[in-house]
Symmetry: C2
Subunit: 551 residues, 2 copies
Amino acid sequence: MNISPLQEARYKYEPKLPEILKNAVDAIKVSLGDPTQSVADQEELKQLFPNTYGMPVAGFTKGENPGAGKAINVGVILSGGQAPGGHNVIAGLYDGLKKGNKNSKLIGFLGGPSGLTSDEALEFSDEYMDRYRNTGGFDIIGSGRTKLETEEQFDTCIEVCKKRNISALVIIGGDDSNTNAAVLAEYFQQKKASIQVIGVPKTIDGDLKNEHIETSFGFDTATKTYSELIGNIERDANSAKKYWHFIKLMGRSASHIALECALQTRPNVAIISEEVEEKKQTLDQVVGNIIDTIVTRAEKGENFGVVLVPEGLIEFIPEMKTLIGELNDLLAEHQAYYATLNTFEDQSEWINKNLSRESSYVFSSLPNNIQRQLLMDRDPHGNVQVSRIETEKLLIEIIEDRLREMKTEGRYSGKFSHQHHFFGYEGRCAFPSNFDADYCYSLGFNAFVLIANGLTGYMSSVKNLSKPASEWIAGGIPVTMMMNLEQRHGKKKPVIRKALVELDGKPFKAFAAERETWAVETSFAYPGAIQYYGPDEVCNQPTMTLKIEHK
Amino acid sequence: MNISPLQEARYKYEPKLPEILKNAVDAIKVSLGDPTQSVADQEELKQLFPNTYGMPVAGFTKGENPGAGKAINVGVILSGGQAPGGHNVIAGLYDGLKKGNKNSKLIGFLGGPSGLTSDEALEFSDEYMDRYRNTGGFDIIGSGRTKLETEEQFDTCIEVCKKRNISALVIIGGDDSNTNAAVLAEYFQQKKASIQVIGVPKTIDGDLKNEHIETSFGFDTATKTYSELIGNIERDANSAKKYWHFIKLMGRSASHIALECALQTRPNVAIISEEVEEKKQTLDQVVGNIIDTIVTRAEKGENFGVVLVPEGLIEFIPEMKTLIGELNDLLAEHQAYYATLNTFEDQSEWINKNLSRESSYVFSSLPNNIQRQLLMDRDPHGNVQVSRIETEKLLIEIIEDRLREMKTEGRYSGKFSHQHHFFGYEGRCAFPSNFDADYCYSLGFNAFVLIANGLTGYMSSVKNLSKPASEWIAGGIPVTMMMNLEQRHGKKKPVIRKALVELDGKPFKAFAAERETWAVETSFAYPGAIQYYGPDEVCNQPTMTLKIEHK
């Protein structure tokens, strides 16, 4: 391993913990509140989780917990996409466990949940752990997207844990993985398997949050990295004064990333998918809003700007969602016939005849190469691969066409040159910001304390995050409390409710209050690279979203 | 202006200067060496620059220079693409000027060289200057790409300078702009205009360097920013273990950026255009090398990796260069007829018939949409727009085809999923690293000291950069010394010789010595974000290129 100077330096960083977690682990006692309810579908969920539904919120106080010193084996899994700080969750868990009893063991299952069912694992040592402290990535044990859903898998989990004498599992993942953690906890209880399960809220998308989980880890570092790049591009745009930059940001289901980045960088336009959906905007309207800004700025001689586009936008535009649905149905139903159509012309002609009138109109109005993407890039099930659609280019092409038209009509006399960017992979494995390094370490340490207090089916929770770490509040939230039932593949399934951007929430309102100025005046802000050292206000600030939400 | 916490903090940073420049400006005296020669074409250049050819290298010593305290007006111009640190060159120049005499004035011409000929300018004040210290971008006065080349322009420059009582111009730009600065200096001498001209070496590309100019400013910050992102992507690749990432890096004529980033991040493959050209590699061979790596890694179960691709690659592949040349000639010659061909099929058929046998073969073997780009995206002169060709996608498409073939033949059994990225605009306007902040401030301050010592036709030079700033050596290099004659648009023109990557240079050798290991073993290094604070080894290091070159 070749170690960069920053990595070497970060090894020495000591993450901050909430006050209560600084005590000896056998001096931290759980304090339980009243029974809880799920956010919806209480009766159904109660039946699905007879053993773990309704458990109380857990807090910690100083007090004796003699059991915390017992030597135990704990298993840990990283699940799903990378998020900065995963290594620190494991470091916190490891340190807590060893603080409890130095003979305790932490077993890391390799390559995600599949490592548990196939029993591929490593045992952590001090030396191994030290090579990953305060670093980005999930390379410490790897991650994977296998879902633990079937009873067969659950039984294998029990077997593997028994064999390895593991009495608790920590699952680090997003909403889906934490849902599965809760199902697993329930199953283990039902089978009296004596294996506790604790979840840890991870996702750069920021959509795993609620009253009790203020933010998922990784969101802070990822949005700071994207904002660094957006700010740099804004400054370039404002220096060269010749390009409109369209920047697509990772995140398919929610626009928290786009919103946070907009608050940090004050671009001319930031599209928020949830607003597009709520206002039932057409593609035409979405484009129209951008064009208005381009034209107004052109009138002031400013033929440059920055537009933020959330990756999942297209699925939030009602007419596009309908079109994609119809295409999927058509192509699935007439797969055999469709396969005989060899040219794009034949395909699109046939498609156009078979779409609904509305969708046919929408399809025809799309640029040619987007039509191609919709018809040609399909997944093995025949579905349109929405993530392959280059939304930023789609917008650019339509805008170009429209401006050309307006120019001939004398309604626009500017110059529209453009660049496009997509930021996603750049931010998922950055060295965690001090915030994420501290938060993740605390979540991991906290997960151990929950285990040491005998809890299962809980999510590790650290709150009051807009304050300094010393004021953070550690505890546990029963996962069932965040659940409701949702339709998935035709079945009602218990899932953690995804947190979308709320249009009446404070962060969106803060954005909405300023965006009209940002659209026209050049109001760019340049956050610069994440700093791990330096003045407090530079290196120890949480996201704007968190600050605004908890002001 | 909304100021980010980092920007606020950076305002307070005090850039470091070489020891000699810390003296009172009237206590810094120039010391001149022997007459110099240009790197080539000495006789011709002597005739082209009768007044400024052969001037000695200038150094500084302690000694009296009473003229330095005179109140003067100096003009400054930013020319060409953005590079981090431009604002600090101006800050250093401003501070030097004001240290000489607080009644001296610094005039910034707006929007690049055209601001000088159209006399659009602002006068710097302390307050205005302070808003830009240690920040990225060229937004302080804007930049532009107008070239100062004609006598008419030169005469206008004289007029504007006379009107504003400007006795010296500082031109901050790349090789072309510095060449023009030298031509301007010569012209002013010839016309006895009493206007000095000093150039400052700028370009993120790193191709403006030689024995006397160790590096151009901006290269350090830009490559650190790109390396941050490459490292993050490498760590993501190594965590998810499912993608090959193809990363194109800005820089059309030289591969210094790709080489520096490779040294910092140790990717599996880094293509160096100069090597491709020198070894006369075909597109087939370039692709073949990457495929070898992919296949070897796949055999070890590692279906992931990172490939760095320099933006200008395609023009360094001899057969592609020939093809593009032929296409340009054909399309220019038969413009009228070609315009009657409406479909891509007709166009490519006609093209194929008219290309040389070799080029026809190369053209036919290209993926369809690259053929389209070559035929359709042409500039107003009918030339192929090489910069529009998505080289990273071209490579991916050919590799995909080839691997599919190898799979059916049983020679490859891996999985090839891919992502592509292009980094350019992300790094040109970052907050300058401490190195660039110090270097640029020193270059600017130094430019004033050269002016105060009556020099013209010199480039501001700060050497010994691999050492701490206190050991840096300030001075001036006559621009003619770096020149030779080159063919440009059919004419022999005096230009500063571009520095390409030298295959027998130390940085390339250091890379070449390790790349076979990097190709197969996962040897990624993760530099992380640029740090402006923290331990010295984290925040005060020059580039690897500079360190290796001056070891």
